[in-house]
Amino acid sequence: MSGTFVGMPAFPKAARDAVRDTTLRGNLRHATHTIRDKRAKAVAELDDWQQLREAGKRIKDLTLRHLDRHLLRLEESVTAAGGTVHWAADAAEANRIVGDLVKATGETEVVKVKSMATQEIGLNEALAAEGIHAYETDLAELIVQLGDDRPSHILVPAIHRNRAEIRAIFRDRMAGWGRPAPEGLTDNPADLAEAARLHLREKFLRAKVGISGANFMVAETGTLVVFESEGNGRMCLTLPETLISVVGIEKTVPTWQDLEVFLQTLPRSSTAERMNPYTSMWTGTADGDGPQTFHLVLLDNGRTDALADDVGRQALRCIRCSACLNVCPVYERAGGHAYGSVYPGPIGAILTPQLRGTTSEIDASLPYASSLCGACYEVCPVAIDIPEVLVHLREKVADRGGPGHRLEKAAMKAATWAMDHPGAMAAGERAASRTRALHPRRPPGAGAWTDSRDLPELPAEPFRDWWRKNRT
């Protein structure tokens, strides 16, 4: 996985800077607490939430267990529907494929709908090196791109920015990228959204090439699905002549019916809505409607490494809802940038080290960036046992490093950071004891594919004790 932010300090250093930044902390706290309560309400509306959660988990586990078969089926379905399928083992390969496809159209501009996979591979930078401008069209991505900034949240990459900062970015930077911000722009969110609408519309109307990711790919039908809110996704998916979608291989689900589970759990977990404003589903190309050329780039880039780890592979179930970020006491204080990758928060702490390996200090420190409180597991709509994977990855880091090794030092600093922040710890421990009472312990001897209705094996000892014991 490329896309390490260059010169990124290890977790504790970056987290320390974030904690000192009171504006950032205020922004994060406000935003995550708002969405937390809303999510709980949206989830409580469905009496069968636990059944949906377990079904989502099993669909993903079963798919991963036979992923080769489903990928071949997907390739066959997409091809039959008029699409072309490409395979990319790593970031460089994916970027080269996309770059060549864009160049073949003769275009030098593309419009993009927010996609974690293309951020992960650093596609925009790779295209820029080929003389191709990639315009981000999601409002938050636009804020990040115009601000020459880095994303800090899965769903709301500019969550660290408040309205006043966004206004300043639009006022100062829009003109350099196209239509300038309207005169006298206020920091009213509706006015800011209007400014984005005007700025991007000219780009949508002339775009010939669109680039997207996808939330799901249905193997049996070849259907791709994108969930969004603003309509920028629909613009990118339907107005251009050519559409290129870059999607991680783990986004596959076997059947059309499987979507009925995630269509219920994803919106409620991510934006806390019964349904997000727009969801697009397309199968290859459609005569006279939308792009007449469709390319699907299937991306590995470390996913098969994660798949080979019998504890860690559950991270591949992630549907990127970001609920785990919004409840995480460590994320709330450290901010998304401290995680040093496009995947911040609890999911980033278990996914990034698996995709990239734990050879750098930042990646080795990530599994320690947690108080193991288990709040992330509680909200995860596919029941990823994040604390379990964190503990497992800590063991791997420890094995690799050994005492006095630079990786071990980075890791211990992260642990010390988490421990020295009474707020992060206390909130975490409270959450753990609160949720603990609701669930039976997992029965002994459960295998790698366990039932989400059982409790994850949270370390019985508080984190402080665990840390003291493992430090020496």
């Binding site: 922004n27 406000h30 995550t32 708002t34 069968d48 059944q51 079904a55 099993r58 586990d61 079963l62 991963l64 267990r65 992923l67 080769d68 990928l71 071949l72 490409h86 069209t137 409002l139 709301v156 500019a158 969550i159 966004i166 969110p189 509706a190 800011l192 959204a193 609408r197 991007l200 949508f204 109307l205 039908t221 809110s229 603003e230 309509g231 629909r234 339907t238 107005l239 291989i249 019916q257 009925e260 269509l263 219920q264 919106p267 019964r274 349904m275 404003p277 727009y278 969801t279 697009s280 589903m281 397309w282 006279g288 098969t304 798949l307 080979a308 019998d310 295998g447 790698a448 594919w449």
Partner: protein, 209 residues
């Protein structure tokens, strides 16, 4: 080995020897709503309103005047008419009618004020309209570029209670657009603001026979 074979080989090696995963059990509910058409209709109405769609109820005798009134209130200079739209729906609309021809560009559509369409179905529990490009719906772009969308739902035939019921009725081979309220964003401080790139005004007409 090419990338395809390399990835497939890596996948196979990664799960080799892993225990079989448990089967998917679909013991979740097919619907969360009592099987009562009037209750389902009311729920749809309520959820559409909750996400800021404007909802109107009428019957075949009233639809012409209702749609004409919505267009006039909007000050619509022109309205896009997809193929297969029942002529009665626009019989009383005074503004210019524009057809969506194969040659119309996105910029042409941008000059049109409003669009009137039917839908494939509507989902009560989520307040969602699903369009599938069938009769009276047109290409995906016509409900995207104009700033005002009037969508007509036939009561009760096009209403389902739940997402699983909707999935069973939809054809994955068609391009599908699920619409739940007007375009919105939560990107500024996670606060929902209506209206970014898609239509900022969504009128839903619940049409009884």
């Amino acid at each position: 080995m090419n990338a395809r074979d390399r990835i497939l080989a890596r996948v196979r090696a990664a799960v080799e020897g892993a225990p079989e995963a448990p089967p998917v059990v679909r013991d979740y509910l097919v619907s969360h709503t009592p099987d009562d058409p009037a209750a389902v209709l009311d729920l749809l109405h309520e959820n559409l309103v909750d996400y800021r769609a404007r909802v109107h109820r009428t019957d075949e005798a009233g639809i012409g005047a209702l749609v004409a009134g919505l267009l006039a209130a909007r000050g619509a200079g022109s309205v896009l008419v997809p193929r297969g739209l029942p002529p009665e729906w626009l019989a009383e609309a005074a503004c210019a009618h524009v057809e969506d021809g194969a040659e119309s560009t996105a910029a042409d559509l941008d000059a049109v004020t409003s669009v009137v369409t039917g839908c494939a179905l509507a989902i009560a529990e989520t307040g969602t309209l699903v369009l599938d490009g069938g009769p009276a719906q047109g290409r995906r772009r016509i409900t995207l570029v104009p700033d005002h969308h009037i969508c007509v739902v036939r009561v009760p035939g096009q209403i389902v209670a739940s997402v699983p019921q909707a999935m069973a009725r939809l054809d994955p081979g068609r391009p599908l657009t699920w619409i739940s309220g007007p375009s919105a964003t939560s990107d500024i401080e996670l606060d929902r603001v209506e209206g970014v790139h898609g239509p900022r005004t969504l009128d839903v007409v619940l049409l009884s026979p």
